[in-house]
Symmetry: C2
Subunit: 460 residues, 2 copies
């Protein structure tokens, strides 16, 4: 690896860590509207940081939501161009009493940096800024655009509009998203597939208001009974989803990919341990890892009917409702799944009650081509630092921005990251392993350096 860039990195590590602590001290909590001033402070801080790095055109893009920051670093004519994605907003720290120290006063203990956002993702964001800055300051050719948002923890709602309006400005060969984490400290990780999702709210309504179950129960349809009867048929006894056509567009895993997935430290025991469940369950013929990443699933997320507080209200509830989520894999389409659920309800909800299905969110599944030069360069950069070939993982959840970039701009994301399964993202005592973070910065710098060389090789 280029020694001048590495030297620059090491010379600036102390400053990079100090700057990370500054950013972590800003409680930029996007879920709380009262934190708007802190969101603003974090956005301003990042623009100043980008300017100090030598970036051009540092500014906020037009948006009605939290500031979306754009900046450009390096030579416009240079290719490939990388669009670095990051978010500066964090989850709320509640419950505060579960923290060992103030979540917004970053503290180092035993090589770990504790603070809300240390892992998700201010630490990752500072890593990519430090890496790009070192490469740029060392005079190595590079062309990076930055797209930093403040609404990731609340669904990235402003991004689709931003991507449509600023499509030309943001265009790049790859998106680099360091928010995807690694599976174990000794296994650098590239995430290449995210499941899509379709979220629904189902309401079954019956009597005009809750009625006394002693006086009317057993004489009229009870929405809670109907909800149970209908949702009790969402799955077949063997664990398969019952919706007609649910699996018809699903791309089957090939044997090569199944073999590759076994390299991940994600055996059945992992799923039992992480959840505390006493056994596994699900679509037959697949491992738990496959079920949760490469196969589609359908879950009831909540149920609600009648009075669920202390005590007992003996009523036939006027309404029973559920939230339901489907997780989707290529080439499933959330709109199509919405139609399938609607057909299922038309066929299963009995007469005497009304039903209403709200389609709340639909996100397409996304997948990155593992053979693309960008992914190959990232793999090489990670291998150089860790000394082992990275593992490739599919992730069961979704990252909206990855789907939006693919859908709206046709741009694939290179997904990696340097937070660990035990770093308590969204939980108390969130932390960042500083040794892993240091390696991550080196690997990201390597990525930027190698990307230029790879291009030259291709040109040659």
């Amino acid at each position: 690896m280029n020694t001048s860039a590495l030297a620059y990195l090491e010379n600036h590590m102390e400053q990079t860590l100090a700057e990370l602590k500054e950013l972590l001290a800003i409680p930029s909590i996007s879920t709380e509207t009262s934190a708007k001033a802190d969101i603003q402070r974090a956005a301003v801080w990042l623009q100043e940081k980008l300017s100090r790095m030598g970036a051009r055109d540092v500014r906020e893009l037009d948006s009605s939501g939290n500031p979306v920051i754009f900046a450009e670093l390096g030579e416009p004519g240079f290719s490939p161009t990388v669009l670095v994605y990051g978010h500066y907003d964090v989850q709320p720290p509640d419950p505060l009493e579960a923290w060992s120290s103030d979540p917004f006063v970053p503290v180092e203990r035993g090589g770990q940096l504790y603070a809300r956002g240390a892992a998700d993702m201010k630490g990752q964001l500072m890593a990519v800024l430090a890496a790009a800055s070192a490469v740029f300051q060392s005079g190595i050719p590079i062309h990076v655009k930055f797209l930093l948002e403040g609404e990731e923890e609340i669904g990235s709602g402003s991004l689709p509009e931003i991507l449509r309006v600023y499509q030309d400005l943001l265009t790049a060969d790859y998106a680099l998203n360091p928010d995807a984490g690694m599976v174990r400290a000794d296994l650098p990780t590239i995430t290449y597939a995210l499941r899509g999702a379709a979220l629904f709210k189902l309401r079954i309504t019956g009597p005009k208001h809750d009625v006394h179950s002693g006086l009317f129960g057993g004489a009229i349809p009870n929405p809670a009974h109907v909800l149970c009867e209908v949702l009790g048929r969402l799955h077949q006894p063997d664990g398969k989803v019952s919706l007609e056509g649910f699996y018809s567009r699903v791309k089957e895993l090939d044997e090569e990919e199944r073999a590759q997935l076994t390299r991940l430290p994600r055996d059945d025991g992992f799923y039992l341990e992480q959840t505390g469940s006493s056994m596994l369950w699900g679509e037959p013929g697949y491992t738990a890892l496959e079920r949760t990443t490469a196969r589609p699933t359908l879950e009831i997320n909540s149920l609600s009917a009648g009075f669920a507080g202390e005590g007992f209200k003996a009523v036939v509830p006027a309404e029973a409702s559920a939230t339901i989520s489907a997780r989707l894999v290529p080439d499933q389409d959330p709109e199509e799944v919405h139609s399938m659920l609607r057909v299922f309800l038309q066929e299963t909800v009995p007469a005497g009650v009304n039903w209403d299905l709200a389609y709340m969110v639909g996100v397409r599944p996304s997948q990155t081509d593992l053979s693309s030069p960008g992914v190959r360069v990232m793999a090489e950069a990670l291998q150089k630092v860790w000394g082992v070939e990275p593992v490739y993982q599919r992730v069961g959840g979704g990252i909206p921005v990855v789907s939006y970039l693919q859908e709206i701009m046709g741009m694939e994301s290179i997904l990696t990251g340097f937070c660990l399964p035990g770093d308590n993202l969204h939980g108390p005592d969130e932390k960042l392993d500083l040794d892993i973070w240091h390696k991550g910065i080196q690997a990201l710098a390597g990525f930027f350096i190698l990307l230029g060389s790879s291009k030259k090789e291709e040109d040659a």
Copy 2:
């Protein structure tokens, strides 16, 4: 009817109404612990009233709950003795803004008296006090004991202990409970059967905490799925309850009683109108009235799992729960139904989750012999005032005190009352129809007078 007692009644009607208004002005809300002082005030007010009537041994019985008042009126040697039951507590008035006037400032409008408790049951309680007082003051032989409690709206929790401790003091030939209402203003009503109840809370538990449905959904059993699958089988497709043995002890209605029930203004249209349901449903072969009063039923009263607030939490919930109530008819036993539900769960809950069933309340069904002299006298007294034979109804709900009196003391209750279906019990603008109330007082006085004569006839 004895004219001196009637004259006494009429001469004191203005005073009786004024006293009712005094009692209604005390917000003796038993569901609110902050209303303890008002509960106390209402109890003191009643003791003073009983003393003014000429009652002896007026006192509070030993209880850790709200005051339970005892008093005795008339000749101890006289039989039959009647135990008058009443409660002086009321439901909270919320939502206050739905009332046309202050719920604790009684107001007359168009022959109706509006106030919380006017119908349930301070009005009924004052009616029976006025009737007994008039009969006693007119020198007609009578022996009445009073048992007035302040916890009816919260389940009469102190009564079983009171009945056990004070069994000898409270012994009587009949209990008279004027808290059962009438089915229509022109149809005086005797209630002769109340269903029992068994209330349960079922919890299904799975993962140790809510887990991300994108990361773990579809790989482990989901308690919300299991709850739906299990409760979806509580009823057979035709509407019968699925629990093995549920109907085995049920006394079938005979044709005579079925014919008698058709006199009640409770056709299918009544159930549709009262509930706003678009159709009826339930055990085949029975009318809605029969299903809700003479047949046992099983209802899901509430469902709860995951996050049911605004927004969407995509989790596999750690727990899913339901409250379930069975309504029971003679000779069903709540303990037996508890066992049946337990067997059902043992057979239907799949492996991989845990379940826990809490048996919260069990109340036996109760029934009063329609051919007993007490009931016959009440029927005669009602008929004399209204000019029509009373209707006899079964009620789908339960009144705990009626069950307790039957179970603990072997005492049958004569159940009647003078509130109407439109009197908004427990709702805003609760009211009492003063004309009906006046007739009710006359009928109750007639009951006390006739009871003595009936005894003499029997003795002769």
